[in-house]
């Protein structure tokens, strides 16, 4: 039960900084794929998200209304995650243009964690429209990993965080995390 106040507090703090804008963020970073040991590159526009919603309505995931509701409000999802075999295989500056675009387009910094170890940094951005979260951006760099999440559309951060423990995501067992969310479901 601590999750909602946690994110609500952060959102409230970031809201005055947010400016409603509709500019599309270009994540790029495709040059990192060649150097990475593993990479995930997902890009779904609104038409693909409609297909995803249709799939979820028909499949076994239909018993999780939260997931369908979460996807139904989205306009665009871009996720890029690169895992490298060794440190120093990418330049952290490669990610800077994403941060710059988010800031330039009025996205507010919800959370910034920097310099905990070996150049690790995590920035969580949100776009706010009429007091509602209308976008989420995550830029995380670690010595051997780069992750960028860019989600456009009405999104409930608490519901998104609650997905942990579903669909094979291991639950982190965080304080306040709903025990129901610890169940796992395999993705078909």
């Amino acid at each position: 039960m601590k999750r909602i106040p946690f994110f609500a507090l952060l959102i409230a703090a970031a809201a005055p900084l947010a400016v409603p804008v509709d500019a599309q963020i270009q994540v790029g970073l495709d040059n990192l794929a060649a150097k990475a040991k593993e990479s995930v590159n997902i890009s779904l526009d609104s038409s693909m998200l409609r297909l995803a919603t249709a799939f979820l309505s028909k499949s076994d995931q239909a018993d999780d209304p939260g997931l369908k509701k979460l996807i139904a409000g989205l306009k665009n999802i871009t996720v890029k995650k690169y895992t490298f075999a060794e440190e120093g295989q990418y330049n952290p500056a490669d990610v800077q243009p994403v941060r710059d675009q988010l800031r330039a387009n009025g996205w507010g910094v919800l959370l910034g964690l920097h310099g905990d170890k070996g150049g690790s940094a995590t920035d969580i951005y949100t776009k706010s429209v009429d007091g509602q979260i209308a976008g989420l951006g995550v830029v995380k760099v670690e010595p051997k990993e780069v992750t960028v999440v860019y989600i456009e559309g009405a999104i409930d951060l608490a519901s998104l965080a609650d997905l942990a423990g579903h669909f094979g995501i291991p639950s982190l067992g965080l304080p306040g995390q709903n025990s129901d969310s610890k169940k796992t479901k395999g993705v078909q």
């Binding site: 994110f7 249709a54 996807i71 999440v149 951060l157 998104l160 669909f167």
Partner: protein, 99 residues
């Protein structure tokens, strides 16, 4: 009398040219008769229609299958993307709470 009869027979048996267009009329009549007698091959009409119907059914089936695969692919991609996003949110939250 016998000479008159002989002349009549000779006249009757004398080769004569057919009237103009006789050969063409004969050919046309024989062709018409042949067409009337030969049963119309139904498959000549049915085959193109059957081919069009089969092609349309195949195209529809492929289209439905492709759409279904697209839905499946999009659904799995969306789940994976949200998994990663959820994971990152929880990791960040965990770090904050542990600080």
């Amino acid at each position: 009398m016998s000479k008159n009869l002989e002349d009549q027979i000779r006249d009757a048996l004398r080769p004569q040219d057919p009237p103009e267009g006789f050969a063409e009329r004969v050919v046309l009549k024989s062709q018409a008769a042949l067409r009337a007698e030969t049963p119309r091959p139904r498959f000549r009409i049915l085959w193109p229609a059957a081919t069009v119907a089969a092609t349309a059914a195949l195209a529809l089936s492929i289209s439905i299958e492709y759409h279904s695969l697209q839905e499946q692919w999009a659904g799995r991609q969306a789940i994976q993307a949200l998994q990663i996003a959820s994971e990152e949110l929880n990791t960040a939250r965990n770090k904050v709470l542990n600080q």
